[in-house]
Structure formats: structure tokens, C-alpha cells
């Protein structure tokens, strides 16, 4: 009996080994190019696949390996990426937020190749907005190709709930207006503002829109090069506004993720939520059409931008092929195909938006005329170390509302970042 079993197992194992040996042997003539991202589901994964298909069609000698790591809004992927980069085994290209996440983590530390030749070859210098070029460049050279632009400062609301309570988008354009509207909603038994800060970044996200709304674009920008004083009275005012808004959130906010908070708005249990425009994709995916959007209090005329971009690490195994892939990422066709699925607008200025949905068309129009500021919660405004320090302060403030302690912590975080004195 046992001998039979042994023979049976041996046969299985040998055939498994034979199969394993066969499998990768077939496409061996093609050169593999590894693209690393955290796009594993829904529109973003489909969009990436479109780009890969375009590249594969134009370069039959190459084969893109889609090395995507799922989960945690990129935090799992970033952990894997950092281990690989430190170990000297970089992918040929990887997804990174443009701005300080790209520059402070990877460029100033010497992990990346400059891309001025790619930019020159494909005419990207004229295709991207000057503001975008500045954010991806270090010492005059660009270091990544942005694929899309997301807007962080959007207030989403349930139209039916707003109408039933006699509110319009204009009512919440100031902090005073927001407070009045929120009191009205609260009295009607509706949660005014939905928040899902299961991951602390969602609270940081709300916080950055309050900073922008209270300080205005110029002083908000000043926070990140320390020309705006973190210990000053304007920041105190922003913290008080933030505290005021936190007084109107759902009780179970720490148990929810951002999309579960969004569900509260869809169900009409909550009236508003402040989230980036990936929420638009969530509404589309859930088949909900009764939503409206507006800038959060004080944010009118300011576009809080973040972008996914791809760079070229040193020691990439196939830099020439990878540069061609980056060319596809930055092309008009590539950006249109990708962004319509991803639910974001193009980093290029010449995209045709006629096929995009109503929200994205309005966002594209704002992108042209608004003042552009970088997002904190999504790696554009500050280094990852600084952002982590702020994220670490967030849960405590959200629960105890101690403005003075929070501000002291923020001043300390600014000092620890090495940017401020």
C-alpha cells in the first residue's frame, strides 16, 4: 500500500517538475521588460493592460512582465519595491507618485536615471504642463513620465440628500457655510460628512484640503519649504477648522475604508465626503448617478494634484526598451486610452476629452485654469518620512481634538523632515 502511494507521489512530482520546466521555455526568445505597480484591479489594471498591449504591438521583440503587487493603496507594493531596490534587483520601471515621493526617496538618493533624452525624443517638454515638468524634475532634468493627474480636493455629495435639505454646492464653499449646512443635516438625522480613516491617510487627505482651504494656495505651498510658519496663527486656524469638520463625521469612521465611507453617501446615510476623484470611479462602478461634486470649503480655484508616474532605475536590465515603454506612457494615444479607464485626466495638455465622462471633463477644464498645488497625502508635497510623521499624528488628533498638541507635533515633524529649521 505505502509503496503504491510512494510511486503515485513520485509520478505526480516528476510530472510537476517537467511541466514547470516546460512552462517558461516557450516565449524565451522575447526580451522581458518588468513594469512594477500596484494596479491590480478594475479600471487601473485594464488601463495598464492597454498601455502594455500598445507597447507589445509596436515592439514584437519585447514582452512586458506586469509585476503588480496588490493591496493597501500601494503600501504593500512600496515595501516590496524598497526591498528590491536596496537589494540591487530593481524592476525595469516602477510606479511612483510624482513630487517628493519620487525626488526625495529615489532621485536625490541616486537610484534613478535622468530622462532628458526620452523627453527630447518624444517631445514631452512641450506636451506636459510646465507645472508638471517642475514637479518631476530635479536639477533641471526630468526623472519620471507622469501618466495621469488625479484631483485630491473634491467634495462629493448626494444630490437627493442636498435637495431634500434645501442645500446647494455653493452653500459649502466656505467653512462657515459648511458648518451651517452640517448643522442642518445633523438636525435632520443625516451624518454630514463621511470619513473612512481605517488607514490614517484618509484623515490626512481631509486635513490637506482644510490646510489649502484655510491658508490659500501660496501659503499652503509655503508649508513645504517652510516659508509658512507651522507654529503660526494661520495654521492654528486651519487646525480649528479641521477640528470643526471632524465634529460632523460618522461614529464608526475608524472601522471603514474610504470606499465604505463613500457607500454611506451612496446610501444617503451621509451627505458628503471629501476624497480624491477616484471616488468618481467608485460611483461609476457601483452604478450610482445621483452624486454631485464641488470644491471643499475654501478650495475654489485651487487644484490639489497628484499623479502616478514611471521612472527608470539605474541598473535596469533593458533601458532602451524601457525608454520606448515610457514613450508609450507619455503618448497622446496612450494617455487617452489609459485615463478613460483609470478615471483620471491626462498629464498632457492636448488630450481629447470628448469621450470622457462629465466629471473628468469638468476636472480637465479646472486643470487648465486653476492654481495647481501638490497633494500631501499622496506623496507630492513632502517626503515620505515627513508624510509618515504627519500620518502618525493624525489618529490621535482625530480622536482627542487637542489643537495645541497637534500643532506642536506638526512643528516637530517639519523639523524632523530636515527641510525646516
Amino acid at each position: 500500500m505505502s509503496k503504491k502511494w510512494f510511486a503515485f507521489l513520485a509520478v505526480i512530482m516528476i510530472s510537476a517538475m517537467v511541466l514547470a520546466a516546460c512552462a517558461p521555455a516557450a516565449p524565451a526568445e522575447k526580451t522581458p521588460v518588468e513594469v512594477f505597480s500596484w494596479w491590480t484591479t478594475g479600471g487601473e489594471a485594464n488601463g495598464l493592460q492597454k498601455l502594455i498591449d500598445q507597447f507589445n504591438a509596436a515592439n514584437p521583440e519585447a514582452e512586458v512582465i506586469n509585476a503588480a503587487v496588490a493591496g493597501g493603496a500601494g503600501s504593500n507594493a512600496k515595501a516590496v519595491l524598497k526591498t528590491r531596490m536596496l537589494g540591487g534587483d530593481p524592476p525595469d520601471s516602477f510606479q511612483v507618485h510624482m513630487g517628493h515621493e519620487l525626488l526625495d526617496t529615489w532621485v536625490t538618493t541616486g537610484y534613478m536615471e535622468p530622462l532628458d533624452d526620452v523627453y527630447a525624443e518624444y517631445g514631452f517638454n512641450d506636451a506636459f504642463a510646465p507645472g508638471v515638468l517642475a514637479i518631476v524634475s530635479y536639477e533641471g532634468k526630468p526623472y519620471s513620465v507622469p501618466v495621469n493627474i488625479h484631483r485630491g480636493n473634491v467634495l462629493w455629495f448626494n444630490k437627493a440628500v442636498f435637495e431634500a435639505n434645501g442645500l446647494t454646492a455653493a452653500d459649502v464653499s466656505t467653512f462657515e457655510g459648511f458648518m451651517a449646512a452640517a448643522d442642518k443635516l445633523k438636525a435632520a438625522g443625516i451624518t454630514p460628512l463621511a470619513l473612512g480613516d481605517n488607514g490614517p491617510w484618509a484623515a490626512t487627505h481631509l486635513f490637506e484640503t482644510v490646510l489649502i482651504g484655510t491658508l490659500g494656495a501660496e501659503k499652503y505651498l509655503g508649508l513645504w519649504d517652510c516659508t509658512t510658519d507651522w507654529s503660526g496663527p494661520e495654521v492654528t486656524k486651519a487646525l480649528e477648522n479641521f477640528k470643526m469638520m471632524l465634529g460632523y463625521i460618522n461614529a464608526d469612521h475608524t472601522a471603514l475604508s474610504w470606499d465604505q465611507a463613500n457607500q454611506l453617501v451612496i446610501d444617503g446615510k451621509a451627505a458628503m465626503t471629501i476624497m480624491g476623484d477616484w471616488a468618481n470611479g467608485d460611483y461609476t462602478a457601483k452604478g450610482f448617478e445621483g452624486y454631485g461634486w464641488a470644491p471643499p470649503p475654501g478650495n475654489t480655484g485651487i487644484f490639489d494634484a497628484l499623479s502616478d508616474s514611471f521612472g527608470l532605475p539605474k541598473n535596469s536590465k533593458n533601458p532602451e526598451l524601457m525608454k520606448k515603454f515610457l514613450g508609450v506612457l507619455g503618448s497622446k494615444q496612450g494617455q487617452e486610452d489609459f485615463n478613460i479607464l483609470k478615471g483620471s485626466i491626462c498629464a498632457r495638455t492636448d488630450c481629447d476629452y470628448s469621450k470622457f465622462n462629465a466629471y473628468l471633463q469638468s476636472s480637465a477644464a479646472d486643470w487648465q485654469k486653476d492654481t495647481i498645488v501638490p497633494s500631501l497625502a499622496h506623496g507630492a508635497a513632502a517626503s515620505e518620512g515627513w508624510l509618515t510623521s504627519i500620518n502618525d499624528l493624525m489618529p490621535t488628533f482625530v480622536s482627542n481634538g487637542d489643537v495645541a498638541a497637534f500643532q506642536t507635533g506638526l512643528v516637530q515633524a517639519a523639523k524632523d523632515s530636515g527641510v525646516c529649521k
Partner: protein
Amino acid sequence: MHWRLNRDRLIAILVLLPSIIAVLVFIYGFIGWTSWASTLNWNDMLPIPKGSLFPNTNSIQLDNYIRLFTVDQRFQIDLRNTIVFTVFFIGSCLAVGLSLAIFLDQRIWNEGFFRSIYLFPMAVSFIVTGVVWRWLLNPGSPEAPVGVNQLFANLGLPFLQSRWYTNPEALYFTPESPVGQLLTQIGLGAVTTPNFGISIAMLSVVLAAVWQMSGYTMALYLAGLRGVPDELREAARVDGATEFQIYRRVIMPLLAPITLSAVIILGHISLKIFDLISAMTGPGPAFATDVPAYYMFDTVFRGNHFARGAAIAIILLISVAVLVVPYLANAMRTEVRR
């Protein structure tokens, strides 16, 4: 004869050598690497030169540790949470495990069936436990409770509803309370803050962990109970002891070594806990359910604070060693004596 012995010894050495080398490199080597890394000024994504084990940076001695224990609020809250978790987790597991084992030891009907039921939770991973309990203990809103809260509402027991792991508060002796005043008088006023309290949210995590591990504790105790010879019980009965006295005076003392093993096994699980926290709550409101292992991951892979993460790792290692080393030393001494 002499030659044979030598050959045996040679084979023994050859067979053991790979694992000795592996242990030296992958355990002690890496402990050494981490300890050295924890003293460096390596709190950025510094590149590691080819052929080197560390980035080019200077040593800042114990600054990373000093920072953790002086200015780092999050780490101090984590220490509190770990202690709370460890005490409640081990205590509840032992109590529940022992009760279940004694219950099963009463020669009840279909013992195997119950034994399997109590043991099954151990077969799932902490990740699964975490996700399931996150759903069960999600409080919902007071108007529309979900999960366990909804069950309480439907049973007409709304006073049992709780905010579970979303509760940011801690139970502690306030300076105004009688105990707090007493503590202040004897010079321990510093402990009358939430930092020396019991994080309420952590108790929800304890609940999930106990659900998973108490069956295992039961199995340990059951084995111990079955190892108590019937003659002892009968002798006690002949001497006129009641059933309670038999357990209290005869059986419990014999179970002491089992309790010790259980404490060691549960203790090192609880000090290193990461997966359950990660799947169930994350850091929680005001870090109410944050633990050092989770902070270590966060600070290294999100904040690029490699040296600070290494310092946390070493602190965890030391705390586990404090628990395990005396036990190992004791076990070795007993073995030598044999």
C-alpha cells in the same frame, strides 16, 4: 570500534553542519546586522554600495533608542498596548483553556466532537481571524448597528452594545480618583495618565486572539489532565477530598509545568503579534491598537526610517528573550540532570 565511533561522529557533524551554518547566518548573523543597523543614522532611503552590507552613513550610537523612549509618543503607546494585550491575552487563554479542559475531562458525551470544535479556530490563520472579527465587531452607527451590536439590538440587549475597536479611550486612574491621589502621594503621579491605562479597543483584539488560541491552550491542559494518574484522584477521594479540592490541591499543582509552557508559547505570540492587528484594526484610533511590530513595519517601509525600525526590532527581541531565555535555561538544566 574506535573507528566506528569516529565515523558516527563525522556523519553527525556532516549532517548537522548545514543547519548550524544556516542558523549562524540567518539567525545570529541577521541579529548582528539588525543591531548594527539600529545604531546608524539610516533614516532615509540611502543606497547600499555593492559588496557592502550597510549604506555609507555615520553611527549615532543609541540615538534611535533614546528617541523611541523619550519623544516618540507612538512607540510609548505601543509599549502600553503590548503589555495590555499580553496580560489579557495570556490570562484569558489560560482561564478559558483550563475551564474547557476541565469540562471535557468530565467524561462527557461525544468528547471528540467538542474537542474538535474548540480546537478548530487554531486551524485558521490570524489573517482570517482578523478579517472575520473586524466584520463582527464593526459597530456601525448607534441608529443602524451591524455585526455583534445588531445581534445585541435584536436580542433586546442594547446596553451590551459597544464601540469595540473604534473606541479611542483608555481606562486609567485619573489624578482626581482616590487611587490616583494615593499614587500621587507615594510619588507615582506619573502613572495617572492614559499612557498607563488599558486601551479599550485593544480588548476587542484580545477577544479575537483568545477565540483563536484558547482551544490550543485547552489541548495542552487536556493532555496534562490525562497525564494525571487515576490512582492520585482515587487516593484523594479515599482521604475524603471533594471534587473541587481534588482539582485545587492535587491536579492544579501537577499542571504547573503545562501552565509555564503555555505562558511561554502564548507570550512570544503576543509580543510579536502583527498579522492579527494588520488584518483586524491597523493602528486604530489614537493608536489604540497599535503594537511595536506594526509600527516597525510602518516606519521602515512607509517612512524609510530603517534604523529606527531596526531599533524597535531589537527591543522586541530583547523582550521575547526576557521571557524565553529563563525557560530555555531551566529546560536545559533539567535535561542535563536527567
